[in-house]
């Protein structure tokens, strides 16, 4: 008998770890964004996507609410709001 032993590449997407988020989540205001990509780069989950100005957003299915994106944004265009 075997249990879960191995995993194919990319399958960590199957585990929706966004439920680990506790206090707050980022809100992408999409008003002053200059598409500098800094939020995308610092996100430890790699769950921020976007290309053009004011298109950046994150996938709450994986976001842990660490706040790194809000901290690094040079335009204060990401704000942390209370998790509901």
């Amino acid at each position: 008998m075997f249990g879960p032993l191995t995993s194919k590449s990319g399958t960590s997407k199957n585990n929706k770890t966004g439920s680990w988020r506790t206090e707050s989540r980022p809100k992408f205001l999409k008003t002053n964004c200059i598409a500098c990509k800094m939020c995308r780069i610092v996100c430890p989950e790699g769950c921020i996507t976007g290309t053009e100005k004011n298109t950046y957003d994150c996938d709450y299915a994986f976001c842990k609410g660490c706040g790194n994106c809000a901290m690094i944004c040079p335009k204060q265009d990401i704000t942390m709001i209370k998790e509901e």
């Binding site: 008998m1 075997f2 249990g3 879960p4 032993l5 191995t6 995993s7 194919k8 590449s9 585990n15």
Partner: protein, 394 residues
């Protein structure tokens, strides 16, 4: 062909015939001769294998883990502190369901440092998910490596096998051994085909995080597979017998127990000494017998029950102890009668042979004579009371 061989040499020869692609080990007494010999085979070009020198047992175990994970039959050997230094990786190999054979040349555990034989090292790792097979003599030790590879690489099993052979007594003892030929080994042991392997063309991850949603099932699967091993081991030993002509039960062996009134249960080389004593006592009309446990993990509890249920008095001889509780083998044997209709009237537990103290024929006779209607729990045999008078109070 029959040869007069040192135990380590016989094991090394047989492991060589199994053609492991990766061998890694770190020298430790009394295991060293085995891998020394294998390193020589590789250096002489007799064995086409990668012998990887490492700086510790932790690394040796990690190297063979990597070897099997990459889809190659692998081998390592160790003893005592070395096995404990491997412990973390030992659990990983079982948890990742990687088939491996490891020889444990049984030796006592520090402190105080002691290089001589008892079985505390392997017994302490009984919960690691490894199948543990104990050898009585050099022939069995050599044969168990062939049997071990067949069991571990069975597609339903994929659990590592630890072949336990008493240090010095079997590793450095010399006996006549019937050595298999390459043709026989190839007939019995097909080339290793992994269920899954590390492959850059088809990437997978092994041994990854299993959160509370997954972990329990991985442990349960090993537990259930251990139960399946109780059925598989005798099948493999039966096939072994067809090819090599020597038969083992694989789980346990009953020696003159049918009408016995007093039976000793034991594991490893001491069973040979006990059989000699039995023959002597039987010649004098004493009804004594032996139950030799070959497979400590999985533990054949149902077979032990069947073998001992009608025996009036049973003694368990352990060469290890669970300090503060009972002796490990005694616990297993006693548990085999829990909630059952029949049971021996007396089940006594004895500890002997720690740190290489000889278990002589007289020791065995003493155990039979101490097996009276008064039950003994974890009774130390051949204890020297004069050594227990030290005082360190200020």
């Amino acid at each position: 062909m029959k040869e007069f061989l040192e135990g380590s040499k016989a094991v090394a020869e047989v492991v060589g015939l199994c053609k492991p692609g990766v061998i890694s080990a770190y020298p430790i007494t009394p295991q060293t001769h085995i891998v020394e010999e294998l390193a020589q085979f590789v250096a002489d070009g007799k064995l086409n294998s990668q012998f990887i020198n490492v700086e510790s047992e932790h690394s040796a175990a990690s190297v063979v883990l990597g070897g099997v994970a990459a889809g190659v039959r692998s081998y390592t050997a160790t003893s005592s502190q070395g096995l404990f230094y491997m412990a973390e990786v030992i659990f990983n190999i079982a948890g990742m369901r990687l088939p491996l054979v490891l020889t444990c040349a049984n030796r006592a555990i520090s402190a105080p440092i002691n290089i001589w034989n008892d079985q505390q090292d392997s017994v302490s790792l009984r919960d690691s998910g490894w199948i543990q097979l104990y050898a009585e003599d050099i022939q069995e030790a050599a044969d168990l490596h062939l049997i071990g590879y067949r069991i571990t690489e069975d597609k339903s099993m994929m659990l590592p096998v630890m072949v336990c052979m008493d240090g010095f007594i079997l590793t450095h003892g010399i006996e006549v051994v019937d050595m298999p030929t390459q043709e026989q080994v190839d007939k019995f042991l097909p080339a290793y085909k992994p269920l899954y392997k590390l492959d850059v063309e088809n990437p997978i991850s092994m041994g990854l995080l299993a959160d509370p949603d997954y972990y329990t099932e991985t442990r349960y699967a090993i537990h259930e597979t251990m139960k399946d091993a109780l059925k598989l081991i005798p099948k493999v030993t039966a096939e072994f017998s067809k090819v090599f002509g020597r038969s083992y039960n694989g789980l346990l062996e009953e020696y003159r127990t049918k009408d016995a009134e007093r039976v000793i249960v034991a594991m490893g080389s001491v069973c040979g000494t006990i059989k000699e004593v039995i023959d002597e006592l039987r010649a004098k009309g004493k009804k004594v017998g032996l139950l030799k446990i070959s497979s400590f993990r999985p533990f054949p509890a149902a077979k032990v029950y069947e073998a001992l249920k009608d025996i009036p008095k049973v003694a368990i001889l352990d060469k290890s102890v669970s300090l503060g509780s009972y002796a490990p083998l005694a616990v297993e044997v006693k548990a085999s009668f829990f909630g059952k209709k029949k049971s021996p009237k007396v089940i006594s537990s004895f500890v002997a042979g720690l740190g290489g103290r000889d278990i002589t024929k007289d020791t065995v006779k003493e155990i039979y004579s101490l097996l009276t209607s008064k039950e003994k729990a974890c009774e130390f045999i051949d204890l020297k009371p004069e050594l227990l008078k030290e005082s360190y109070e200020q």
